[in-house]
């Protein structure tokens, strides 16, 4: 039996209920046993281990809904174990892992493999996303029903767009059958083929192969039309342009079951940050204009963008130390998700409550997870954070096996101090 844990004197922020108050929280048997402003005010907790959390903020454990690991198939880049260590250090207690591994997670036995490997090695909860089509080829649908029973929380072709509208429409109808969540990636494959930057002045100066930003909004519009036809629950894994945001806002206004996320890098960086061909800032979709980036911040503030994700994507020197066009896209991000999310809150562009909601209650609601709340009885997945501690990103100090961060050298304010999964401490950075 785990010893109870008592948090004293902390600021409790629970976006699920809107609670923001100084108080305490008690964990027993892996669940939140009690919480409130008066808890432990007068009486010292007797038996539990006491964590003096004065000056710190306690929130539900962060949920990162878009993580790529290398397991199975590219364990030299990242394993579930190393990714989970990075997640814990970033205050993340649950991560949704994408199915574009080798082999692709496109059948129930492979979903089971991920869950078993995670149970044996991972520090945080690993939530597998199953492939929507076999081999991510966009041709035939996968066993959504059986994979769901095996534990897949959503279905997606990861970083690929299903270009065949007939295949997607049938896959959505089939997923709707099981009320399963589908994650979409919006980049028109033909229009973006070979592109490594967003079409515009900057890409022209650098001479980079580029694709127009509307390659995203086109697919967003198409997918929303198919959602309206089929009734599937649909979540755009990450969007990056103002045009996409406007289409999604209109779809939400019509009551369609559509949600979306944005990656921390599209929230924080624009195309100019590529500077002199910095391949660590080559991501997919490519970084956008400053107007598009600003739209992402506005979208988070208004709630049109429901969640913020790391889009953690480990790459090695072999794939990144290349000319820009040849280099692999992707950035690690588990340890910078929280600081990057807090940045617009510090700047007053997004309320602190909304920013934290985008990492806790909102993803829990979309993925129908138990956590994401400080309510009594909920799993004790908790993040204790210092909102103000300044630090500078140093790739060498990351816990992740891969060090390809787009935020190298960036100064942030606020980071995770302790992380708890089911009441057990999985990271202590005090």
């Amino acid at each position: 039996m785990m010893r109870p844990v008592a948090f004293r004197g902390c600021r409790l922020i629970d976006p699920a209920s809107g609670l923001d108050v100084k108080g305490g929280l008690l964990v027993e048997n892996g669940r939140i046993a009690d919480v409130g402003p008066r808890l432990f005010n007068d009486a010292e907790p007797t038996d539990p281990e006491v964590i003096d959390a004065r000056g710190l903020v306690l929130t539900p454990g962060l949920i990162d809904a878009r993580v790529f690991t290398g397991e199975p198939g590219s364990e030299h880049r990242e394993t579930l174990e190393s990714a989970s260590a990075a997640a814990a250090a970033g205050g993340i207690t649950s991560m949704v892992v994408m199915p574009n591994t080798d082999p692709v997670i496109d059948e129930p036995s492979l979903v089971d493999f991920i869950l078993r490997r995670a149970a044996g090695t991972a520090k945080v909860r690993v939530l597998p996303c199953g492939a929507l089509t076999k081999g991510l080829k966009g041709e035939v649908m996968t066993e959504v029903g059986l994979m769901r029973e095996a534990g897949a929380v959503a279905f997606s072709d990861a970083d690929r767009t299903v270009s065949n509208a007939r295949v997607l429409s049938r896959a959505l109808a089939y997923a709707a059958n099981f009320n399963a969540l589908v994650l979409g990636h919006a980049e028109d494959p033909e229009l973006t083929a070979g592109a490594s930057a967003t079409e515009g002045e900057f890409a022209t100066r650098l001479g980079l192969p580029a694709a127009p930003a509307l390659a995203e909004a086109m697919i967003v519009a198409r997918d929303i039309a198919l959602v309206e036809l089929t009734g599937a629950r649909y979540h755009f894994g990450q969007i990056s342009t103002r045009a996409s945001l406007q289409i999604i806002a209109a779809a939400k206004a019509r009551g369609l079951p559509v949600t979306c996320g944005v990656s921390a890098h599209h929230l924080s960086l624009n195309e100019l940050d590529v500077g002199a061909y910095l391949t660590f800032r080559k991501v997919r979709p490519p970084l956008r204009s400053e107007d598009d980036r600003a739209a992402m911040v506005e979208g988070v503030a208004s709630g049109t963008i429901d969640i913020i994700v790391s889009s953690h994507e480990p790459q090695g020197a072999d794939t990144k130390r290349q000319p820009f066009a040849a280099a692999a896209a992707g950035s690690v991000g588990l340890e910078t998700l929280l600081p990057a999310t807090l940045a617009p809150a510090h700047d007053g562009q997004v309320s602190l409550m909304r920013a934290l909601d985008a990492l806790t209650a909102a993803p829990a609601r979309i993925f129908r997870l138990q956590g994401g709340t400080l309510a009594k009885g909920a799993p004790a997945d908790l993040t204790l954070m210092d909102l103000d501690e300044p630090f500078q990103v140093d790739a060498e100090k990351l816990h992740s096996r891969a060090r390809n961060t787009a935020f190298e050298g960036r100064k942030f304010q606020g980071r995770a101090k302790m992380t708890f999964v089911g009441g057990a401490c999985v990271y202590d950075g005090r």
Binding site: T133, K134, E139, V140, M141, T142, E143, V144, G145, L146, R170, A173, Y174, A176, N177, T230, G231
Partner: protein
């Protein structure tokens, strides 16, 4: 030959679909078929009602049981039966459906049974030939004799249609059997449900006055009759459903799912069955619950009744010369 001409029974000289039949016509056909069931079980199964008449079975799609059922029905009534299986390749050689119809019409048949892969084919033929046309299945449109034989099977077992809950399960989208059955059963007062994954449900099927379910548990709850549909092989591998094992897990009729229906519920299947895909073998073979063999027997009786009824619309003096 019967000396007394029998009273007319159908208002049309073709049977193109359940749509177009009245409840009274359906009852009359079922009553007539009942007499042929009795006859079919007697030693002498044959009458001379259609002596001298010609029945052509024109099948553009392969079918063993429907074709042999019509052949047997025609022969038991004394007709000369000609089976023509038209490979689709000969159509691609250039002969159109109308060409085929014109050729056949010149042979002066009295009854033309047609099965075709395209919806509306029987209707088109009926406008081009002088004889009676019976639709033995056109695309995903109608298969009226199947619905009639299913109705006869149900009526003999349960004695009524009014208020019965009939769950039609499986590939409704591509099924003419489902469309004919839901038309007939709704018309006769049964409560019809369609149970299928969304990928196998036609759009706006609810407009037929049926209830739609995408889940077998709720769809079968309280059902008197569970009617399973065949899932074609080419539709099981990712285009409409991901795999056979997933389909069977969620939509295949096994003991567990059948237990969700009304106690004593009966199981039907138009055949041919895919065992282990839409129906478990032990249910298909269980004579306590499965009506599948009885459906085949009723098929011959119904087709005799239909041929009989249509023959009453023959012109007295033969066809126009």
């Amino acid at each position: 030959m019967t000396s007394q001409p029998a009273a007319p029974l159908l208002s049309s000289s073709h049977l193109l679909g359940i749509e177009g039949l009245s409840p009274a016509e359906i009852i009359a056909l079922l009553d007539l078929a009942q007499t042929y069931v009795v006859q079919g079980r007697s030693g002498d199964k044959k009458t001379g009602l259609l002596n001298g008449r010609t029945l052509i079975n024109l099948f553009f799609e392969a079918s063993t049981r429907t074709q042999s059922s019509f052949e047997l029905a025609g022969k038991r009534l004394g007709a000369d039966v000609l089976n023509m299986s038209v490979k689709t390749s000969s159509v691609s050689k250039g002969e159109t459906l109308i060409d085929t119809a014109t050729t056949l019409n010149a042979m002066r048949p009295d009854l033309l049974v047609v099965r075709h892969q395209d919806a509306g084919a029987a209707e088109l033929l009926s406008r081009k030939v002088d004889c009676c046309v019976i639709n033995a299945g056109d695309g995903a449109h109608e298969h009226p004799t199947q619905a009639l034989l299913d109705a006869l099977t149900i009526r003999r077992r349960l004695g009524r249609f009014e208020g019965l809950v009939v769950a039609i399960c499986g590939d409704v989208l591509h099924s003419r059997v489902a469309r004919s059955n839901l038309r007939l059963l709704s018309m006769m007062g049964a409560r019809v449900r369609l149970v299928a994954p969304r990928t196998l449900l036609p759009a706006q099927a609810d407009r037929f006055g049926v209830e739609i379910f995408t889940d077998m548990k709720t769809g079968l709850a309280g059902a008197d009759i569970v009617m399973m549909l065949r899932l074609q092989l080419e539709r099981m591998s990712g285009a409409f459903v991901p795999s056979v094992r997933e389909y069977f897990r969620f939509y295949g009729l096994d003991r567990q799912k059948l237990a969700w229906a009304k106690p004593g519920a009966l199981v039907m299947h138009p055949g041919p069955m895919n065992r282990g895909v839409e129906i478990a073998s032990d249910i298909a073979d269980d004579v306590e619950v499965s009506l599948i063999s009885e459906q085949v027997e009723m098929g011959v009786a119904i087709r005799m009744a239909v041929l009989d009824a249509l023959s009453r619309t023959f012109p007295r003096e033969g066809r126009n010369t």
